[in-house]
């Protein structure tokens, strides 16, 4: 009974539990514990990517299919929120309506791709999502009237979410209670709710069927489950949640562009978050999201120091250039898939048993 909110699915190891609790506390108190624009930006980005990585985990970890179009659905949500606002729409209505349109589009497109490819071969799904995602990338840069092309869209939010709005006249604990704080807690609350919802989904009978299909497709089919239908539903659900995450990102950044939402490097980030944290655990991807975002903000700049320190030597400065960030992430990714395929949480769980 005590863990009903978590659907009785606990991190599974004392260390993992500690990490998850710490992450939760840090995010819940971020604007007060770590005041400053930059640290709040990091915290809110972590919230968004927790949702994004966890929704990807429903597909990769629980259903066992690899999609490369997750950023596309993320972008659908982001552009869905951005387009009405950039065209002078005002108020929560425009945000909700645009976001809902993005979510609906994501669900439809993902279901179409899944229906077309999953009935034949799982690998087709991976290949086709890759093709469709790159087509979406081209569309986003070419439909300049709608999406703003390469430059993307900049827009302003309703006043209540802006820095000028004051909820309380006096600062609390030295922090101004303004619209930005409200935005942060809005994002935090939605992210938390979605995460708990996903925990509910993967621990429901529906989620069990997904895992059964992942483990043994033929057996699940022989038991009478319609494998393609389940996979398609999982794909549509995961895409919809990714679109909501995209909407949240748009609210945070007040800007949407191809590089911020659609680029392949974000897809790599998501893959890393899920694999580092542990596929099929949901808590793992949340921890992975925190790790990768923190690394991007605080470790990537440190690469420049390494490049400077080795400036006289051959080859090393080129390897340590901050633009070669992906090289190191990719190497890390391969090593983890090899040696810790269960990720942080999965490895801890196994040890706990």
């Amino acid at each position: 009974m005590r863990f009903r909110l978590l659907s009785n699915d606990r991190p599974g190891h004392p260390v993992a539990t500690l990490l998850v609790v710490l992450l939760f506390l840090a995010l819940a108190t971020a604007p007060f514990a770590f005041p400053g624009t930059r640290s709040v930006a990091v915290a809110s980005r972590i919230c968004v990517f927790i949702v994004l990585a966890a929704s990807y985990d429903m597909l990769l970890g629980y259903t066992g299919i690899v999609s490369f179009a997750h950023t596309m659905f993320f972008a659908f949500g982001a552009y869905g929120v951005a387009i009405p606002l950039a065209r002078g729409g005002v108020g929560g209505g425009a945000i909700l309506l645009g976001g809902a349109a993005g979510v609906a589009l994501a669900a439809m497109v993902s279901a179409l791709i899944a229906l077309l490819s999953l009935r034949v071969q799982k690998i087709f799904f991976s290949m086709i999502t890759l093709a469709v995602a790159s087509f979406a990338q081209i569309l986003a840069t070419q439909l300049r009237d709608l999406t703003g092309g390469e430059d993307g869209l900049t827009f302003s939010l309703p006043a209540i979410l802006g820095p000028g709005f004051r909820l309380l006249r006096e600062p609390v604990l030295g922090v101004r209670i303004d619209g930005r704080l409200i935005t942060y807690y809005l994002v935090f609350a939605v992210a938390l709710a979605l995460f708990l919802f996903m925990l509910r989904v993967v621990n429901s009978p529906f989620g069990r069927v997904l895992q059964a299909i992942r483990e043994n497709e033929f057996r699940a089919e022989a038991l009478g489950y319609r494998v393609t239908v389940y996979r398609t539903l999982a794909s549509a659900l995961s895409a919809s949640i990714a679109a909501v995450a995209g909407g949240l990102l748009a609210l945070l950044l007040r800007y949407v562009g191809p590089d911020a939402t659609l680029s392949f490097s974000i897809m790599v980030d998501i893959l890393l978050m899920v694999v580092i944290g542990g596929m099929g655990t949901l808590y793992g991807p949340a921890l992975g999201a925190a790790m990768i975002v923190l690394a991007q903000y605080y470790l990537q700049p440190a690469l420049q120091n390494a490049a400077d320190a080795t400036a006289g030597l051959p080859l090393l400065p080129a390897l340590f250039h901050p633009d070669r960030w992906l090289l190191w992430l990719g190497t890390l990714f391969i090593l983890i898939v090899y040696f810790f395929p269960a990720g942080v949480v999965g490895t801890l769980r196994r040890r706990g048993r």
Binding site: L60, G64, V66, L116, S117, R119, V120, Q121, K122, I123, F124, S126, M127, I128, L130, A131, V132, S134, F135, I138, L139, Q142, F264, V268, L271, V275, L315, A318, L319, D323, R324, L326, L327, L329, G330, T331, F333, I334, V337, Y338, P341
Partner: protein, 325 residues
């Protein structure tokens, strides 16, 4: 190879070519058809390795594009170093330079393929999920290493002098290089065809695609065979990348990723594991890209995806699916 007379699938190409005729003038049509054929042959080179590797060993290599990138950069360097030969207005010297570039590209990509198979892929046989993850990681690392080695800015490639420009056939302009690319593609296709259908190694490869366990049970080392096919496939991808780079005349580090998408579409259309399907799929994609690129330029990648969707609706496993599942 088997069921060689699947006319509905084979007739797709001539029907497509004829359907395109009423939408444009005759000379444009000739130009675009030749361009499509040339692009198709280059795509075929890139895709053949991927489809054979999948057919033989059930490995889907998402890093196939890395070999394309490597081939393109090596060819760019070789052609850049041989400006003396490429700038001379002599077919013999030009062909020699191109041949050197292609050979170097094939060797480097093949070597990279060997390394790839040994280091990355041999440990993840049997698990598609891990294969996809590992090879995506490999693609990222290789592309980044290429940038470290050659720099982030795009490279210009001097096209050999004699292959620049075009000649006229009854009012239709045909780029010389396209004819060269198509001829080279055909030669390699012929070599591969003879290798696969007329030699003992080819027989073993085809048998392995049909039924791996049986070939193993008969005492052949299919693992060793597979390494050979993997290296050859990587080398072919390198050749394709080299030809493509010389065709585009610039090369950037994203070339592998971009071509991977087209190559995937090709092998899905053709049917994973099928050589004939790979050829037909490649030419189909080349033609569709060129026709639509002329009629509605912004839609060209969308049109190949649409072609793939239509073919999957018609034949869910591609045009020439393998007999086994």
């Amino acid at each position: 190879m088997k069921r060689a007379h699947d006319w509905a699938a084979i007739l797709l190409l001539p029907v497509l070519i004829l359907l395109a005729l009423p939408t444009m003038s005759l000379s444009t049509w000739v130009t675009l058809t030749v361009a499509g054929g040339a692009m198709g042959m280059m795509l075929f080179l890139m895709a053949l390795g991927l489809t054979l590797i999948f057919g033989l060993m059930d490995v889907l290599n998402f890093a196939h594009g890395a070999f394309i990138t490597l081939g393109a950069y090596v060819a760019a360097s070789v052609l850049g170093a041989l400006t003396g030969w490429t700038a001379a207005d002599s077919w013999a010297l030009n062909m020699l330079a191109l041949a050197a570039a292609v050979a170097a590209a094939a060797m480097c990509a093949g070597g990279a393929g060997l390394l790839f198979e040994r280091v990355l892929i041999r440990r993840v046989y049997g698990s598609h999920l891990q294969q996809i993850l590992i090879t995506v990681g490999g693609l990222i690392v290789t592309e980044q290493l290429v940038v470290v080695a050659w720099g982030a800015q795009q490279l210009e490639i001097p096209r050999p002098m004699a292959m620049r420009g075009s000649f006229l056939v009854g009012g239709a302009a045909i780029e010389k290089y396209r004819v060269v690319a198509m001829a080279l593609g055909l030669v390699i296709w012929l070599v591969m065809y003879l290798l696969l259908n007329r030699t003992r190694v080819g027989l073993l490869v085809r048998a392995g695609v049909e039924n791996r366990e049986m070939v193993e049970a008969l005492g052949f080392r299919i693992r060793r065979l597979f390494v050979g096919v993997f290296v050859a496939g990587a080398a072919l991808a390198g050749i394709g990348g080299a030809m493509w780079a010389a065709y585009q005349q610039v090369v950037t580090s994203s070339i592998g990723g971009d071509m991977t998408i087209l190559v995937f579409i090709v092998v899905i259309i053709g049917g994973l594991g099928s050589v004939t399907g790979c050829l037909i799929g490649a030419i189909l994609v080349g033609l569709v890209t060129n026709y639509i690129g002329f009629l509605a330029p912004s839609l060209s990648l969308g049109s190949t995806i649409a072609a793939m969707v239509l073919i999957l609706l018609w034949r869910p496993r591609g045009l020439f699916p393998l007999a086994r599942s």
